[in-house]
């Protein structure tokens, strides 16, 4: 909805909506999203978490699995290809390491933030 705010004594009109813990705001031609959700529930997708997991950056289908358990991978190596909305997305390894587990399979429909595989960085000597 349209909100009339007062910032430093100046009238500022913005468009804003609250959806759960997300605040959507449109100001000066730019849309912003500010999430007030606790950090733990905001799992980063498509990149490693501290735990060395590769997570799905969006919901979609796994169309290629280019690695296997125990494979030694380089940072930037293509590990998984996903498809969503008719487009292909290539998920690369965020770090060098050894694949210790695979949690998805070819053709599987995965959710946003779902764990796809685990990389163990310690196991690599380069």
């Amino acid at each position: 909805m349209r909100l009339e705010l007062e910032i430093n004594g100046q009238k500022v009109i913005v468009e804003s909506e609250l959806a759960g813990t997300d605040l959507w705001l449109h100001h000066k031609g730019q849309t912003w999203l500010r999430s007030f959700a606790p950090v733990a529930t905001r799992r980063a997708g498509g990149r490693k978490t501290d735990a060395g997991e590769l997570l799905a950056p969006m919901p979609g289908k796994v169309t290629k699995v280019l690695t296997q358990v125990d494979a030694i991978v380089k940072a930037g190596e293509v590990l998984i290809v996903m498809e969503a909305m008719k487009m292909e997305y290539i998920l690369k390894s965020p770090q060098a390491g050894r694949i210790t587990s695979l949690s998805c399979e070819l053709g599987q429909q995965v959710n946003l933030g779902q764990k796809l595989l685990q990389i163990d960085p310690v196991a690599v000597k380069s």
Binding site: A19, W24, H26, K28, W32, M58, M85, K86
Partner: protein, 504 residues
């Protein structure tokens, strides 16, 4: 001027089925409403929560969400249309719109297919056949080799004759598989063999063909229209060079890149192709333009996503014209005055995150508001509360503007995009704003390589300044207080408008 009937109207459509979804379904419904035709929406299970579902007079579910089981299922669409008593089917674009088997299945079931004949779809829709027709008519083609001699020696020799760079493509394929760009003779043999292997494993045939690789081409297309009397005319051109991974993003009419001489030649060539197959309805002939020369690319035997830019500069309604043509009626009543005026630009709004490499963004639309005004047109199939899912294309809307010149149209588009509000999913609007402001676009010099050259990376995140933080805090506080019922129309209080309901 009155519409002149060419044949006795024995095909007046009372009820028309729409074999599509989203914004194009809404576009077709509105055209039908204006023509006094009832509509039947053939929809998938989740698409009950869309604007098209709400607007259609009737609907029938033709299958679950996956397109193969619903929007691409020929018999489900035909059966659905028949079950709801439709006399005609409009396929929109994408899905079954260029499927000759679908056009034929409709005809067999006694349904009028809004589009060209199955034969015309087959002849022009097939890339190799369309090229053969174009060659016969003397249209310029990208130099290439499509011979049966597939020996590596012959192919390398052909590549040398064409001149590097050359692209090798799988004859049976598409979608980039079995496709390689050859830049010099030293690696040609190796790359052709690799393309043949890929083609064999992907499509079961190692057959490849070669084409001159146009590395700085513009994408320019001609809108053609075949009326009920058999006359094929063109409605001038559009330029769609701003594309990424063969997906168009910004289109305009007319192209800023054509001389009037080239424009006339391309228009004539497009009409010849249409006349050759007895084309009826709306179609598009695509060309590539490089170094002042144009080359035939392919034909889209359907309405095009970017048809609104042509409608705005020409002052026509292509969807109504399609339906009237199918009914055997005349179109473009003011045709002696049909000439382009001003300039139109379309931006496709995709649900994706430009700050994260364009990954798709899905979710529930919380708010969607368009800044209406003169020369501004919005095509969208979603309303607040509807979901953007991962089952379908990520294009959720199109913004189209018209103004008196290209410069003014660009200014208008920038303002319109800045004032468009979509909450709930991320969109490519920030990317569109940057592309529109890029010198290559502003001066009209863009080629199909523009996006890859300048916008391959994610956009840098915009700066959050202290003022913005203060705005966040205040907006949040205000909205929280409304939610908790302390505000003027918060929860738990009577809506102040409720008491004002009066029968009138």
């Amino acid at each position: 001027m009155e519409e002149v009937t060419l044949k006795p109207i024995n095909r007046k459509i009372q009820r028309l089925a729409i074999a599509n979804r989203g914004e194009v379904a809404v576009r077709i419904i509105r055209a039908c409403q204006e023509l006094g035709i009832e509509t039947v929406l053939l929809h998938s299970e989740p698409d009950v929560a869309t604007l098209a579902y709400r607007l259609a007079d009737r609907h029938i579910c033709i299958g679950p969400a996956p397109t193969a089981q619903s929007y691409l299922n020929i018999s489900a669409n035909v059966q659905g249309a028949l079950a709801q008593g439709a006399q005609a089917v409009h396929p929109g674009f994408g899905f079954l719109s260029e499927n000759a088997d679908f056009a034929e299945a409709c005809a067999k079931a006694g349904l009028l297919f809004i589009g060209p004949s199955p034969e015309a779809i087959r002849r022009l829709g097939d890339k190799v056949q369309a090229k053969a027709i174009a060659r016969k008519l003397g249209l310029p083609l990208v130099p290439g080799y499509e011979g049966d001699d597939q020996s590596i020696l012959r192919l390398v020799q052909a590549a040398e004759t064409i001149g590097y760079p050359v692209i090798v493509k799988a004859a049976a394929g598409g979608g980039g598989r079995g496709m390689k760009v050859l830049t010099d003779s030293s690696s040609a043999k190796e790359l052709i063999e690799s393309a043949q292997r890929e083609a064999l494993s992907a499509f079961g045939s190692a057959q490849v063909f070669l084409e001159k690789y146009l590395d700085r081409a513009k994408h320019i297309e001609m809108q053609i229209f075949g009326d009920a009397s058999g006359r094929v005319r063109h409605l001038w051109d559009r330029e769609c060079s701003v594309q990424r991974r063969h997906q168009k993003m910004i289109e305009e009419a007319l192209s800023p890149s054509l001389t009037s001489d080239l424009r006339l030649q391309m228009g004539q060539a497009a009409c010849w192709l249409g006349e050759e197959v007895g084309y009826q309805g709306a179609g598009t002939v695509e060309f590539l333009l490089q170094d002042g020369k144009f080359y035939f690319l392919e034909v889209n035997t359907r309405l095009q996503v970017e048809h609104p830019v042509t409608e705005l500069v020409m002052g026509v309604d292509l969807v109504k014209a399609q339906i009237l043509t199918a009914q055997g009626q005349a179109v473009f009543p003011d045709s002696e005055n049909l000439a382009p005026r001003g300039h139109a630009i379309e931006c496709r709004i995709y649900a994706e995150d430009p700050y994260q490499g364009g990954i798709p963004s899905i979710g529930k639309i919380i708010e969607i508001k368009w800044p209406e005004g003169p020369g501004r047109r919005f095509e969208c199939g979603l309303e607040a509360g509807d979901e953007v899912t991962s089952f379908y294309d990520s294009m959720i809307a199109k913004v189209i503007v018209w103004d008196e010149s290209r410069v003014r149209a660009m200014q208008k588009m920038q303002r319109v995009l800045a004032d468009s509000i979509i909450f709930g999913v991320r969109t490519n609007i920030p990317l569109l704003q940057k592309v529109l402001a890029h010198p290559e676009f502003v001066t009209g010099r863009m080629t199909t390589r523009m996006m890859g050259q300048y916008f391959a990376d994610s956009l840098p995140l915009p700066e959050v300044d202290p003022e913005l933080l203060a705005i966040f805090e205040q907006a949040n506080a205000k909205l929280q207080s409304l939610v908790s019922g302390q505000g003027p129309i918060g929860r738990g209080q009577a809506n102040p408008f409720q008491s004002q309901w009066r029968g009138v």
